[in-house]
Symmetry: C2
Subunit: 151 residues, 2 copies
Amino acid sequence: MDAIDLSLVDLLRGNARLSYAELARQVGLSAPAVHERVGKLEAAGVIRAYRAEVDPETIGLSVTALISVVEDSGADTDDVLEAFRAIPEIESCYFMAGVESFLIKVRVATIAELERLIVRVNRTPGVASTRTSIALSTKWENRPQPVAPPS
Amino acid sequence: MDAIDLSLVDLLRGNARLSYAELARQVGLSAPAVHERVGKLEAAGVIRAYRAEVDPETIGLSVTALISVVEDSGADTDDVLEAFRAIPEIESCYFMAGVESFLIKVRVATIAELERLIVRVNRTPGVASTRTSIALSTKWENRPQPVAPPS
DNA sequence: ACAGTCCGTGGACGCCATCGACCTGAGCCT
DNA sequence: AGGCTCAGGTCGATGGCGTCCACGGACTGT
C-alpha cells in the first residue's frame, strides 16, 4: 500500500467505472501495471466491491429509518445477527457499544412497511426491545473521504 | 423505468464494473441499447455514482461512530449542514425526526481523533449538544436490496 | 558478482465501447 | 385505412481498451 495504491483507491472510490487506461494516466503508470495493482487490492480485501449508488427514492424506497435494538439478557448475538441478515430491508448493521447492542439502518417503501418491519425485528428471538428513528431526509450518504494527499 | 431498467440497476449495484456487453447479455438486449438505457438512468439521477467499496480498516479508518446532534433552538439548520459538509470525516448525514435533528456517521483513525472530532462538532454554531455511540464492529453496510424480481 | 524477486514496460490480439445508419411498432392525425 | 413521427431497438464498423506475455531494470541476500 504505497502512495500510488492510495491514489488508485481514491480514484475508484470517486468513480468505479474508470478504465484501467484512464487510471494509468492519472497515476503515471502503464495500464497493465495498474491492472495488477488493482487486482492485488481486490485480493487483499482493500477493495471489496464496485457498486452503483442508486437514489433509493427512484426505486421506490422512500422511507429510511434507524433502529436501535436491545438484546435479551442471555440472547445469542450470532443468532440475532443471522436473523437480521435474512431481512433484506436491513441495509446496514452495526454492533454498538452501550445498552443498545445493534444499530440497523433500514429502507422500505412506505410507513406501513416500516411498521411491519419493526414488528418483525421485535419478534426475532433474542430481541428485547427496539427504538426507531425516522430519517426525514438523507443529506448525504457514504461520501468517500479522501485518503491520499492530492497529487 | 421498466423491468429491464430495474435489472440493470440491480446488476450495477452488485457490480459496477460490468461491461455493457455483459449487461446486454444478462438482460437480453444489444450493447448499444444497454448503453443508452444506462445513460438515461444516470441522467435521470437514478444512478448517482459508481463507487469502489473499500474496507475502511485497510486505509486506516478503524473507528466508526454515530453522533446524534441536538440543535440550538433558533439555529439555522442550513448553516449547521454547511458546517457539517465541510468536515470530511462525516461520511453520512441524516436529518431526523425527534429532538436530535441530525444523525451523522463519522469515520476516523483513532479514538483520540474521534474526541477531537466530537469537540469540533460540538463547537459548530447552532449545535446545542451531541451524543456519540461507537460502533464496535460493522457487520455489514450498504447491502443492496434487490429491487427487480429475479428473472 | 550473481541469481532471484519484484515490479514495471511494450507489443500483440481479441473484445468492447460507441457512433451512425437503418428497422420496427405504437400512437396519432387527417 | 394510410401515412407521419418518434422512441427505442439491431447491425456493422472502427478505434480504443483489457489482458496476456516476454522482457528488463533495481534491490536484496549470499
